[in-house]
Symmetry: C2
Subunit: 238 residues, 2 copies
């Protein structure tokens, strides 16, 4: 979920929020990792007050879990929760598809094409983390183009959650198929073929969901501060 739209300089909380978000989604931070307020605060040079704010935002995105009097932890969604997320996601994205078919325009097509090219590049550069993120962001773009800002907000949230779920449960996969499917979708939009677009989206999300249902491999253990700082660096330049 984004904080505010027009803002010359990203606020510290936003930098921290995005850094952690990326770190979690790309699974640089293993689920279950503790995120003490002090630690967050010192990494991003802010007080606990602000660190809490960041953690709260991540909690709303379903990326961290907060229990009373315990450190926040990187969320570890259960398989049941995963299924729930996919259920909601399908229903939201169907609505997105319908909206987009109604308002489809050349400008939208160009924008999405551009995004897909970026996805392609990431794959060719063998940048797996990036290509996973871009695949998710394609759907967020779609939601944006639906013109319904609440819908966009919700899609944003479920996509975050899905990213984490995929990171957790997915078997290694080729992002290439996602790109192909994305292109097919655009074709259907161009043809204003709603049933076809809905069908494609269903299949596409189904494929994503299928990938998610096999336990993933073990994860590496890294130093919290190092990991976070790496991502903070990326945000600064953005």
């Amino acid at each position: 979920m984004t904080t505010s739209h027009v803002e010359e300089k990203k606020s510290r909380v936003e930098v921290a929020y995005l850094s952690l978000r990326y770190a979690i989604i790309e699974q640089a931070l293993e689920p279950g990792t503790k995120l003490p307020e002090d630690a967050i605060g010192s990494v991003f040079e802010m007080s606990r007050t602000l660190a809490r704010e960041v953690l709260t935002k991540l909690q709303y995105d379903g990326l961290v879990e907060v229990k009373r009097k315990r450190s926040a932890t990187v969320a570890r969604p259960s398989l049941t929760e995963a299924q729930e997320v996919f259920g909601v996601r399908k229903c939201l994205e169907r609505a997105v598809v319908r909206q987009i078919c109604e308002r489809w325009s050349k400008v939208m097509e160009e924008e999405l094409e551009k995004h897909i090219r970026a996805e392609d590049d990431a794959i060719k550069a063998d940048n797996n983390a990036l290509s996973i993120r871009l695949a998710g962001e394609f759907h967020i773009r779609l939601a944006e183009l639906s013109g319904n800002s609440l819908l966009k907000k919700y899609v944003d949230e479920v996509v975050s959650r899905c990213s984490l779920i995929l990171a957790l449960y997915a078997r290694p996969h080729s992002s290439q198929c996602a790109v192909t499917e994305h292109r097919e979708l655009i074709k259907a939009f161009s043809a204003k073929d709603v049933p076809r677009a809905l069908e494609l989206m269903n299949e596409h999300l189904g494929a994503v969901e299928q990938r998610a249902m096999i336990p993933g491999t073990a994860t590496k253990k890294l130093d919290l501060c190092d990991v976070i700082q790496k991502y903070a660096g990326q945000i600064d330049h953005a």
Copy 2:
């Protein structure tokens, strides 16, 4: 959005949150009303730290608007936003209907019947504020019974928003029709008639939406503290 489920004594923030939520939804607090952290804090006897927390929660529900360096205010959703909310709501509730038809059981039927009786009672007692709230809560119950907790969370949010929208834009209406429609829905569930249930839900939400599109009447001006304290009293006993 609820804070936590098992909790003997409601925390202060929860009391404050619910109080304000009700006060806003029942339009005891006019949209645009400023909600300074100090004021919230002194009414509920908490520090600004906690008052902020409460306001943040309300913000996520779309019930208050927060702008940097300005007091939070009771939200005043535009007509466009209202339409967006209804759009998302329809799509979410359709998903709820499908889920419920799949898992329908006698227990669920009884629970919903009980709720509808409460709606009826409120209408007969001419308690308009209560009957409006219960009409909304019927949908939250449905979402709960869908068994998908994320879906429930989102329905919860859109119903809050809708309540505020109705309070803002709705012409006076008979809640009775809502009750009738609710009963019809239950019949369709019992028959496991998905298309019929979907149709009913569509019509029902369409009716609600229609009611919303006419500017409401002027609202009274009351003292912030008095209003809030009245609602705080209600929560305490709950």
